[in-house]
Amino acid sequence: MRKIALVGNPNVGKSTLFNKLTGLNQHVGNYPGVTVDKKYGITSINGEKYEIVDLPGVYSINPKSEDERIVYEYLTKKSDIDLVVVIADALNLERNLVLFSQIYDLNLPIMLVVNRIDMKGASKIDPYDLSRLLGGIPVAAINARTGDLKDLKDQIGGFERPDQWQQFYTKTEEDNYEKEIEERFAIVRKLLKFLKKESKEASSITNKLDQILVHRFFGYGIFIGILFLIFQFLYAFANVPMDLIDSFFGVASGFVSDFLPAGPVSALLAEGIIPGIGGVVIFIPQIALLFLFLTILEETGYMTRAVFLMDKLMRPFGLHGKSVVPLMSGVACAIPGIMAARSIDQPKERLITILVTPLMSCSARLPVYILLITLTVPDQQIAGFINLQGLVLLGMYLLGLIAALLFGMLFKFILKTESKSFLIMEMPQYQVPYLKNVLFNVYEKSKAFVWGAGRIIIALSIILWVLGSYGPDSFGNDKSEELISQTALESSFIGIAGQQIEPVIEPLGYDWKIGIALITSFAAREVFVSTMATIYSIDNEEDEASLLQRMNQEVDAYTGEKRYGLATGISLMIFYAFAMQCMSTLAITKRETKTWKWPLIQFGYMTTLAYVSSLIVYQLLA
């Protein structure tokens, strides 16, 4: 199979072309030792199969950033590339051709594709003229979104290197890199003089929109409005499929346990594997919807305007203008938020964003907050009209945000970085989003989650199930069925662990029953509610009223006071607000950072924070 490498500046439609050429026939792999994904796909051109590698978008091949290093090394060290296709934007031909000239001078088999040829303000290029000016290398003019690619495919299929090859620029002894770039710009400019150029006035729409969208008042208003709408849609549209998925897997479990003969296999399937898979699938609606909106914002060019508005405000917290999106997503779910951090180019700011996003109060914490607030916070009015319970709930969300910002600040000082933080970013012209790109991105992100994090989540679910279903007694002589039923939770490994940690959590105001719930919550925080129901032997998990009554009647054996008083309630809520009790988040952090180091640090700092703050709060209130 012949190999093609696709290279170009960022925002020139490289991914659009790649998607158009390969369709769903694309894969994501790794470059050794780096966090950038390697995208490659198969396409068939005139009956022959080609492998296309979509290299990261770069402005030069001078290896300064990780992306540039990847491109440089791929082009100079791989000897099996049959063709390098450089894609250039007709809206900004000059700078794009400078990159082309650098790659051309590597003396590789090369061709040029000029994209967006029919956009308003684009350079009117005759591919034939340009090809002649470039010494006969093939040039194809396309519109990757709408136009057909037959001409491009023909040129790839019939590619032949021109006989003559003349270096654009030859480095002399006294030339430094800056001199080289100046020379290349001068050469490209000279070349372009021979081509007719359309008068440019395309950006007038962009200019007009920018008057409003980055306005000092309207700009922020619109930005907040857009975020508000996204999360309204996220809650409104994701809940329906999530409930469906939830009940589907519930029914599936029930079906398996009803129809398979009772025993370890049936229990493993019904209580371990099926809920484990369900726990992965349930995140897909949120991930898909969030990326649907984010990709639309990215495609239109609006996202860079949001960065323009937010960058200064986020910087003191070690974050980037783009960190706003992951943090806001974190209110729904940290997983898509952490995945969205990928759009942050600065490694340090991206890492900090990933580390602090799970501190935002996600939707899984809400059932826990609601149960505990109803149980422990008096239902009364402050100042006549403010409901105290509602105020506490709001407080929990604010607490998450403040903690995320403060820890961002802390990490800013702790984490070391090779390169200093900077922001030199292109602001593309506004354009209508290209549906195909949007859907591809949604599909790719959902797939990345299922394959990248799903396996870890399912494996951990099964381990948790085993530990929650079997105890030391299970391996004795009478391995009765009761041990694998839920009533055995207290005598399971997790149950014993919950009892063992009682001395550790007692200063926070918790007993061993809460200890068990803390451990099972590692599967997902909302499991707290069902674990409590199990421990208090409520048959119907949905029946929160009876769980509330049981928990309300619970009395401390020594003091005779209510087990769930205000101090314990607040302490427990703060623990849930800060502790890293979500293996799915850890799995996605591992996937995004490509090492176990950062999920472990995340787990360590969040759980320590949770323990210390709950301890302080309980000791002050009790």
Partner: protein, 94 residues
């Protein structure tokens, strides 16, 4: 060569040239006079910002940072720190 002491002066570099970061009015056309030595120098050159090029300061973000400029046909955003490296001469609008 220009030394790192440019940071000690707020509006002008060592040779007395106006820094882009100090330009108050916008939109305004500027001619790039020099780029200070910095690890970002190469990056600015690659984006088409080097002596002799004309750029246009279009906007500043509501809190005065970052800047939006246009170079040739493209729009770029850069932070105050980056604008500090660029010395310019303001061009009268025709």
């Amino acid at each position: 060569m220009i030394s790192s002491t440019v940071y000690s002066q707020k509006f002008f570099n060592q040779l007395g040239m106006l820094k882009l970061s100090a330009v108050k009015s916008f939109p305004v056309d500027c001619l790039v006079k020099s780029i200070s030595d910095d690890e970002l120098k190469d990056r600015l050159y690659e984006m088409g910002i080097f002596p002799g090029q004309s750029i246009r300061l279009l906007k500043k973000a509501p809190f005065g940072d970052p800047f939006m400029i246009s170079v040739d046909d493209s729009y770029l955003m850069l932070r105050l720190n980056e604008a500090d490296l660029i010395s310019v001469e303001m061009v009268e609008k025709s």
